[in-house]
């Protein structure tokens, strides 16, 4: 069975989308076939990192949820975004950026069975090894759903007082949902911090293993989600750390 890895954070802007995209790219560089689903239906964004324009995808996840198409039809092959370093494949399942579509999903919601059936079909049809789920921040029903059907959850947080309480809540909720594996990723850490001290403090506070500590990087900031960091800066220390995270998440 393929791994379904959800990347989540309680607050927005922690780096979920960039982390999902980079982990997907690193897996594909290792020869794995990866699907990336943007379940952030309220504020989709990860397609930008893969260089996909808003109007480029024919079908979105929304179309599948409303029965307009099969799940395979929503998958765009974005392996080209890895510029020749891709040994496996990366497929992106985008969310609709259409305002009416967004409003409809928020109003109606969608069913857990439908989504999980879709995931399973997608994994089989595209022979995926990994399905990465980029989520909407917070703990609304759709996000809970994404967490519930994943078997690995990566909770992203920043060393920021605004993130501490919510991260604790997320971890506890995921425990209630009996997600088999859960790890924390600490992102955007200022370079003045002692990274090891952060690692054990966080692990200790949340009683949850830490998959990685990623420093803040001006290069990442400067890239402004316009490319996959791991492709552009393959030798950067952040990429080295993310490679470790990718390995730990699957071990």
């Amino acid at each position: 069975m393929a791994d379904i890895i959800s990347v989540h954070s309680f607050r927005g802007g922690t780096g979920k989308s960039n982390t999902s995209a980079n982990l997907a790219a690193l897996y594909a560089m290792d020869g794995l076939r990866v699907g990336v689903i943007d379940t952030d239906i309220q504020s989709p964004g990860i397609h930008v990192i893969f260089g996909l324009n808003d109007d480029e995808a024919v079908y979105s996840l929304n179309d599948y949820l409303w029965g307009r198409c099969a799940i395979q039809q929503t998958a765009c092959d974005v392996s080209y975004a890895l510029r020749g370093t891709c040994k496996g494949a990366v497929y992106l399942i985008p969310s609709s950026v259409n305002a009416a579509d967004i409003a409809r999903v928020i109003h109606d919601g969608y069913d857990i069975d439908l989504l999980s059936d879709g995931f399973r079909e997608l994994i089989q049809a595209l022979k995926l090894d990994i399905l990465m789920i980029d989520t909407h921040p917070g703990l609304n029903e759709e996000t809970l759903l994404s967490i519930a059907i994943s078997n690995v959850l990566l909770v992203v947080m920043r060393p920021d007082y605004q993130d501490y309480q919510g991260t604790g809540l997320t971890v506890e909720v995921a425990r209630e949902l009996e997600v088999p594996r859960m790890m924390i990723l600490i992102n955007k850490v200022p370079l003045t911090f002692d990274l090891e001290q952060i690692r054990w403090t966080v692990a200790d506070t949340y009683n949850c293993p830490v998959a990685g500590v990623v420093p803040h990087s001006d290069e990442m900031m400067g890239l402004a989600s316009h490319d996959i960091f791991a492709v552009r800066y393959a030798d950067h220390p952040i990429v080295t750390e993310l490679r470790l995270v990718a390995k730990i998440l699957r071990s």
Partner: protein, 346 residues
């Protein structure tokens, strides 16, 4: 293979330059210095010296000695006409050829420039003191004639030629490196040496026309040379005074760039100078000190992370979420899905 070819090339160049030296010696043979039957106006003496500087003492010796002998040969006197003078010409090139061993090649600082000038001075004096001595010992000339008819005219004139022509030749050959030190001294140097040379040549001309005593001319020449050397020494020292702080400043800046702030104290004496360099050193060391302070503060400021969580609020929030019907349903469905997936797997 490479070194053999190089040796052949150098030998060829030495012989060619030697021949050219010989031919020009033959040409300049008519232009004797005042009061001399033998010593001539020979700007080409710089050729063997330059060969020595370029390729080493042996090359200097060969081109100097060979050229001198060739000059006599072309003049019909036979190559061994004045063998001690030919040997002296060889030694002139040889002494200049020591430049590479005493740090006078390449010229990259005032100190190496001073060493070069001293070598040129020695190359124009020691060999000719020797050959003049031989003339005197053989009883061919009295002491007075040896001094004023041989040694002084040659020594003064050749020194001036060497001082004037060797540095530009080295500049062309890329052996005079443009550093702030060399630049500072060269402008003054060329001006000074050209003036002295012009004066010297016109003095020679006047002496020949007005029948002035040659003793007076050469004594004056010797005094001029001494004044020139003292002047050069003074300008070297003052140039060094300008450039030394710049060099120190550069070195300290380089160390700061590598994160080493401990050398800034070296600038203390420069700071006290009343000129712009003093101001620059002061501004620079203040800047480094504030950078160092800021870096230190940053290092100490945030090193440890503290995470505080309100556990009772967390429990309340958790109950709100997990207590909802949706959550209970979700949990149940998720459990079923996982069990189903497990069964599919096995």
């Amino acid at each position: 293979m490479g070194t053999t070819r190089k040796t052949i090339t150098i030998t060829g160049v030495c012989i060619a330059v030697g021949c050219f030296y010989g031919f020009t010696n033959f040409l300049s043979g008519k232009y004797n210095l005042p009061g001399c039957s033998f010593a001539e106006l020979r700007p080409q003496v710089v050729l063997p010296m330059f060969m020595g500087i370029l390729y080493g003492p042996l090359a200097g010796f060969v081109s100097g000695a060979l050229g001198d002998m060739l000059g006599y040969a072309i003049g019909g006197k036979g190559p061994f006409f004045a063998i001690h003078w030919s040997i002296a010409n060889g030694f002139m090139g040889l002494i200049a050829g020591l430049a590479r061993y005493v740090g006078a090649r390449p010229v990259a600082a005032i100190s190496s420039f001073v060493k070069l000038l001293i070598l040129l001075l020695l190359a124009s004096s020691i060999p000719f003191a020797f050959s003049t001595g031989v003339e005197y010992e053989l009883g061919r000339v009295p002491f007075h004639q040896a001094l004023f008819g041989f040694f002084l005219p040659i020594f003064i004139t050749d020194t001036l030629w060497a001082f004037m022509l060797v540095p530009p030749m080295m500049q062309v050959a890329g052996l005079l490196i443009s550093r702030i030190e060399t630049r500072t001294i060269l402008a003054v140097y060329y001006l000074l040496i050209a003036t002295v040379m012009a004066t010297w040549l016109s003095s020679i001309l006047i002496t020949m026309q007005e029948e002035i005593q040659v003793e007076e001319l050469y004594t004056l020449g010797a005094v001029t040379l001494v004044v020139l050397i003292v002047g050069l020494a003074v300008s070297a020292v003052s140039a060094k005074k300008i450039t030394a702080p710049v060099v120190t400043l550069t070195n300290v800046a380089r160390q700061v760039a590598h994160g080493d702030y401990s050398h800034v104290s070296k600038l203390t004496s420069i700071r006290n100078r009343p000129d712009e360099l003093g101001t620059m050193a002061a501004v620079f060391s203040d800047m480094v000190r504030s950078v160092e302070k800021r870096e230190e503060e940053l290092k100490q400021e945030v090193k440890t992370l503290k995470v505080r969580i309100d556990r009772s609020k967390q429990t309340a929030d958790l109950e709100k979420i997990t207590g909802s019907d949706y959550f209970k349903l979700l949990k149940q469905k998720a459990g079923n899905l996982r069990r189903k997936a497990c069964m599919n797997d096995s």
